[in-house]
């Protein structure tokens, strides 16, 4: 998802919906839009119950 930064594109803060053929990389490089919501969800570490350890006999 992209958000508008520059009023030359639309209303700043609104979602930018690209039309066919638009060069998104150029818009990001020029500071017209930003990409948001692309972070991957953090994976949770397993709790202690699931940890197995090798013991030397």
């Amino acid at each position: 998802m992209y958000k508008i930064v520059s009023p030359r594109i639309g209303v700043p803060g609104d979602e930018f919906v690209p039309i066919a053929g638009v060069n998104l990389d150029a818009l990001i490089a020029g500071g017209f839009i930003i990409e948001v919501g692309t972070e991957k969800p953090k994976t949770r570490k397993p709790k202690g119950d699931n940890i197995t350890t090798d013991k030397e006999s």
């Binding site: 030359r8 638009v22 990389d25 020029g30």
Partner: protein, 138 residues
């Protein structure tokens, strides 16, 4: 009879960026390659349409300020984009069509055109792309 006078109404959008207030001239030419289809028995040359070869030329004030002309065009050189010109402000209609080139290529950008005591302007040419005319309001 001349019926179109352009004062401040035309709209120019490059890669979704509204550059209307930086533009002083726009020429969109729709063109087809002419293929010679003349054959024996013909008494004059005949042509048939080949590939589209469209072209949009814009004259723009050069501005290096944030989100102005240079910021819009500098990352487009060597790539394709969508450009749109319109005789007057929206909405689209049969008498005010949105003229669009999708997939037009920007081969070169004059990054500096400086003359003493004058506002800097540049001419940019978008070539190729598929032409369409939007006559219906969204």
């Amino acid at each position: 009879m001349a019926t179109s006078t352009y004062l401040s109404n035309p709209v120019v959008i490059v890669n979704s960026v509204d550059l209307t207030n930086q533009c002083t001239a726009a020429t969109l030419t729709r063109r087809f390659a002419e293929l010679d289809a003349t054959s024996f028995g013909d008494t004059s040359t005949k042509y048939t349409a080949g590939l589209q070869d469209n072209e949009l030329t814009l004259t723009l004030y050069m501005s290096y300020a944030a989100t102005e002309t240079y910021a819009t065009l500098s990352s487009l050189v060597g790539t394709t984009t969508t450009v749109r010109v319109q005789p007057a402000a929206p909405p689209d209609s049969a008498t005010n069509p949105g003229l669009i080139l999708t997939g037009a290529f920007l081969a070169e950008l004059p990054v500096l055109n400086a003359t003493m005591g004058e506002l800097s302007t540049i001419d940019v040419v978008f070539r190729g792309g598929v032409f369409s005319a939007d006559t219906t309001a969204p």
